[in-house]
Subunit: 137 residues, 2 copies
Amino acid sequence: MYTIKEVADKMDISEHTLRFWAKSGFFPFVKRNENNIRIFSENDLEWVKIVKCLRAVGTENKAIKRYIDLCILGDSTIKERYGIIQNTKKKALEQMEELKQQLALLDYKENFYQNLIKNNLKDTWNPMNNIREEAAV
Amino acid sequence: MYTIKEVADKMDISEHTLRFWAKSGFFPFVKRNENNIRIFSENDLEWVKIVKCLRAVGTENKAIKRYIDLCILGDSTIKERYGIIQNTKKKALEQMEELKQQLALLDYKENFYQNLIKNNLKDTWNPMNNIREEAAV
DNA sequence: TTACATCTTTAGAGCAACTCTCAAATTTTA
DNA sequence: TAAAATTTGAGAGTTGCTCTAAAGATGTAA
């Protein structure tokens, strides 16, 4: 059993964000103690994990709420939930590709600056000149 | 030479976002024609590309502005720019790792639902029961 | 060459998702 | 027992778009 701070530390999510998510209806299953304090069970952590996952892939909060609601509705919603997971996975793979592209550009830039520094060269590509003697990939 | 709409199409960024970025000072080098309309050169597109890259990796707009300003300041800022690129790359690699983790969870979930559907099983893990007979990874 | 659609501009409103501050009520620790 | 830390909800503030509006420019077609 965990307080919100413990969850925050364990899951690397700020307390503020956890409370915001709670207010957004992402954790309808989390119980409170007699003083109204949220107590997360081990099982609840798994739900925090899936919410974090959906957010990390850019799922809108409205859609996350929908997924939670479907879970609560029970077995009749399994196919819709499956579809959501499939779409989310597809989006994650696309983001992976995008990130790879950007990493390639960053690699190029890193090399470019490394070369300038090592050989004590001037940056021949000042944007204000609109002269391009050296281009980014 | 491209109008803002052409850049938007070519780079897959909305016109709104490009104008917002322009207002944020990300494109001080983009020229206007006699009717005040922005005309992006081929070279300018490379700058849009690097801005898009920095954004994609979650760089704050203030930090992007800083990078642009350093470029304009010239050769004395090459080392600082190199540092920025290195940090950005590091962040990108971390995000890559994070995405991989989330993909593993999504894979697990996909399998879980696939199994439920194929074998016509019930979802034994309803959060409202706080019973965990089947857990996410 | 007039009419209409499309595109451009800026200013500013609206929005999503936090992020932070506050004050009051517990807990925990020293 | 007192000080420090943590919890709560309400609500203000921030970031980075996203959209709307109004006015002007441009392109196409009859």
